[in-house]
């Protein structure tokens, strides 16, 4: 069942690089990551690639396959024509380290800026009570494996480097939504979402949702509801008037 697959892989580092052509064996049932591993074991032992679980659970092996942001471990070879050349390039939004490995520290920095879970002060461990239907909303977002494909594909930062400081990206705007919808969280992150994390820059093109390997409805279930909560606070005329009259 095996065949010789044509692979074109970007190789290089921060100073530049280019696409290299390889012919590698591919077998039934394999995924792109299997073939990249075979390339490492037989032709390019120093080919840099990140991966961990090879089961779509850790979100390490993000790359762009024929230009589409994907997990290499969840992209089956059977989805390509055997004559097709498969091009594998590093994710584009983050700085290159080497070959398919990029510097994703942007994401960890953004993670640190989101105000953390804030439980009610009077609740002791073991006393937490929540209904399944209430936890499910945030549970959907907690399925996130942090592959950063949504961060990579989002045009707010993909095409505009200068937005990076002002925009947390879909993953961390979703984290804000997750905490806002957490049944026991008592903090209010609505102003911060808009003013510090760039929620307003998102114009709901749903690219993040399309690339999410966990099929999380990032736009519909996290970002739009979050925008509505901000609008409800900021732009409701009665709330606005109340704030004007009774400003602390």
């Amino acid at each position: 069942m095996g065949y010789q697959a044509a692979f074109r892989v970007w190789r290089g580092d921060a100073d530049g690089g280019d696409l290299h052509d390889y012919t590698v064996e591919a077998n039934e049932g394999e995924v792109v990551l299997d073939v990249v591993h075979r390339l490492q074991a037989t032709q390019t032992p120093d080919l840099a690639v990140r991966w961990n679980c090879k089961a779509g659970k850790c979100g390490s092996c993000s790359a762009e396959i024929n230009g589409k942001p994907r997990l290499m471990c969840m992209t089956r070879m059977s989805t390509f024509d055997p004559d097709e050349t498969i091009t594998v390039t590093p994710v584009r939004t983050f700085p290159i380290i080497r070959d398919l490995v990029t510097d994703v520290s942007f994401n960890y920095e953004k993670a640190r800026e989101i105000p953390s879970f804030t439980p009610p002060p009077d609740l002791a461990p073991g006393e937490y009570r929540m209904q399944q239907v209430d936890v499910e909303r945030s549970q959907e977002f907690r399925k996130c494996i942090e592959c950063f494909l949504c961060q990579n594909v989002c045009h707010v930062v993909r095409d505009h480097e200068d937005n990076k400081s002002a925009f947390a990206g879909p993953r961390y705007l979703m984290r804000i939504a997750e905490l806002e919808m957490h049944p026991l969280d008592v903090a209010d992150r609505r102003d911060a979402a808009q003013d510090q994390h760039g929620l307003g820059l998102c114009n709901i093109t749903k690219c993040c949702t399309e690339v999410c390997p966990e099929n999380i409805h990032i736009t519909d279930n996290a970002l739009i509801p979050m925008k509505e909560r901000v609008a409800g606070r900021r732009y409701d005329p009665i709330v606005w008037l109340g704030n004007k009259l009774f400003r602390r």
Partner: protein, 638 residues
């Protein structure tokens, strides 16, 4: 001196999985400065792959549950070889550790009255596993990762620096522990994977939380990081490993297509009602209830099916026997020719519950099979077979403090040994890493606070560590240079074929001979390219750890002439009470610095505290213990 980036910390935690992160949280909350060093990005550790749940006797699903029952189940699962004090602490403290996670923001699935839901699992008398669908490990690691972020935010507020007291050194590999002249821990040496530059941590305490050794086997559920680094680091620093012959083969790994072979299928499938069947459609587990568990499991399909609804009046299904029993049963069915088309057995949930319910309870299993194997588990059965999953053996530690025999060295989670005896119950791993991760953090903090002066690493040791790390760029015999990927594949094949799920003396001896050859060849391992993010070089350095650990496994497996838990000897098929109280202790003894020689010594296990022993019925203990050991049991005296 080589060029080395130097950092000073109070505690260095190696490994950022559940155990490591829990230790970090504890040591930081004691006010210490902590570095956490991990081979992957932060939040990618193998804990994310834990699926089914975290065992804790909270009694939410069945009020009869208690720490005593959890303790008994754990000891039974480990065939009474467990370190009973670890099993006791684990059972007593697990509920608090789970509740604590909720205060960090974790969102477990709920019972109708709003408490944490608990699921059935193999070997657990009551539904006991706190879970989030089938992605519980992800929830644990993300929760603790986010807790660490919140602690960093506190530090930012206090000091203007997120990393004032906790810093994550991601994609950084520790290659050597450093000790001072008197043998105390003085620090750790490693390299940044990205740049290949060396890094040195001056620290009086090191917590090893590096997980397991599964990448030494060909078919495994483990990720690439599981190369036995912590086991090998501890050995080389002078600590001992115990129970290394006990390796858990999880009964249900994917077997088709070949590229996914070994990927885990959660035991939650069976906990929630899934059943094992052979090619004749027979639920074969009823034929495999071993004598020690006779009477504890349902003997008819009808009773087994009633048990899901009514646990008071029925016994549990033998599909939920401990993992070692189920793995052996599957192995026997396959050998008897009743295997599925790709050499496994069927795991059927499709015929047991509505499709929507399956997708709700087991979303990642549904996704994984659909995406990787074109199998819709709501419509057809899965094909499964055993996969190397967990090493029960590990660094010998003091149960209360998680301290190893080397002063300043601590270990928690899979890389420590004793807690699970000869076989771990499903769900006891996530609780283990919470309970003992915390204890290791406390142990390390107490140790550091009790020091009057800090041990210093010698320059000679630092030089030697750097030379060893660079040796693959300059092999001793360039003409016979070895490819690290080839050596790794051969090592995995040897362990798979010769020290696998069923073992025999002659095969283990052959494995030892092959390992001896590999040991020589690893000296000539050579890598291409430079030090910048070079996977070939990284593997070359991990190989020596795998080899050292494999020698421990094989030597201990050869000595233990009985079958128990995760060690099955075809030539010694029965369990032997004398061996129950014997631990095989691995240490290093001279030889090469980089891959020292391994010795294995039988040592006597501490007898169980009488009040704990009295929890068990004398008839049950009689199946495991020698008469002499039971002379003082209340059941014998009366």
């Amino acid at each position: 001196m080589p060029e080395v980036e130097r950092h000073e910390y109070d505690v260095v935690v190696i490994g950022a999985g559940g155990a490591g992160l829990r230790a970090v949280i504890e040591a930081r909350q004691r006010g210490l400065r902590v570095a956490v060093v991990c081979k992957s990005l932060f939040g990618k550790a193998h804990t994310v792959m834990a699926e089914g749940g975290c065992a804790a006797a909270m009694g939410n699903a069945n009020p009869h549950d208690s720490w005593q029952v959890h303790f008994q189940d754990t000891m039974r699962g480990g065939k009474f070889l467990n370190n009973w004090r670890m099993a006791e602490l684990h059972a007593r403290e697990a509920p608090d550790r789970v509740w604590e996670l909720e205060t960090y923001g974790a969102l477990f699935d709920r019972t109708p009255d709003g408490r944490i839901s608990q699921r059935n699992f193999g070997g657990h008398t009551y539904p006991r596993l706190a879970h989030v669908g089938d992605r519980t490990g992800l929830e644990l690691i993300r929760t603790m990762q986010q807790k660490i972020v919140s602690l960093q935010q506190e530090d930012y507020a206090a000091h203007g620096d997120y990393e004032a007291r906790v810093k994550v050194f991601a994609e950084c590999t520790i290659t050597e522990l450093l000790v001072d002249e008197s043998g105390r821990i003085a620090g750790a040496f490693g390299y940044w994977r990205e740049s290949g530059r060396f890094v040195l941590f001056d620290a009086p305490a090191v917590v090893i939380a590096t997980g397991g050794i599964g990448k030494s086997y060909k078919v495994t559920s483990n990720s690439w990081e599981y190369t036995g680094d912590g086991h090998a680091l501890a050995l080389r620093a002078g600590a001992a490993l115990i129970n290394m012959e006990f390796i858990q083969f999880h009964p249900t790994g994917m077997i088709w297509p070949p590229s996914v072979k070994g990927i885990l299928v959660t035991e939650g499938v069976r906990g929630d009602g899934g059943v094992l069947k052979n090619s004749e459609g027979e639920r074969f587990m009823f034929s495999y209830i071993p004598p020690v568990f006779k009477g504890q499991y349902a003997e008819t399909e009808e009773e087994a099916d009633r048990w899901y609804e009514d646990q008071e009046n029925n016994r549990r299904t033998p599909d939920l026997l401990p993992r070692d029993e189920v793995a052996r049963a599957i192995n026997s069915e396959v050998k008897a020719g009743r295997d599925s088309p790709h050499g496994g057995v069927y795991l059927d949930i499709a015929s047991r519950m509505p499709a929507a319910e399956i997708v709700r309870r087991l979303p990642s299993m549904h996704h994984q099979f659909l995406e990787l194997a074109d199998v819709d588990i709501t419509k057809e059965p899965m094909e499964v077979g055993p996969t190397c999953h967990y090493v029960m053996g590990g660094i010998e530690v003091d149960p209360d403090t998680a301290a190893a025999s080397v002063p300043g060295l601590f270990a928690a989670g899979e890389c420590s040994g004793g807690m699970h005896g000869s076989n771990r119950l499903g769900g006891n791993s996530l609780s283990d890493l919470l309970v003992f991760g915390r204890r290791a953090g406390i142990g390390a903090a107490d140790y550091v606070e009790g020091l009057t002066e800090r041990p210093r690493a010698t320059d000679a040791a630092i030089d030697a560590a750097a030379r060893t790390a660079l040796s693959p760029f300059d092999p001793a015999a360039p003409d016979s240079a070895e490819n690290p990927y080839t050596l790794h594949a051969e090592l995995q094949q040897s362990m798979h074929d010769l020290v696998g799920i069923i073992r025999r003396a002659d095969e283990i001896e052959r494995a030892l001979a092959e390992l001896a050859t590999l040991r020589e060849r690893i000296r000539n391992v050579a890598v291409e390219g430079n030090r910048q993010f070079n996977p070939g070089w990284h593997l070359a350095l991990d190989l020596r750890n795998m080899l050292l650990v494999c020698e421990c496994v094989a030597r201990a497996a050869l000595l233990r002439t009985e079958s128990r838990g995760g060690h099955t000897r075809d030539d010694h098929p029965s369990m032997d009470a004398e061996w129950r109280r014997t631990l095989l202790v691995c240490r290093t003894d001279g030889g090469d610095r980089s891959i020292p020689d391994v010795t294995v010594t039988p040592e006597r296990q501490q007898p169980m505290r009488p009040d704990l022993l009295a929890l068990f019925d004398i008839d049950e203990l009689g199946k495991y213990y020698t008469d002499e050991e039971l002379a003082d049991h209340p059941g014998r005296r009366s």
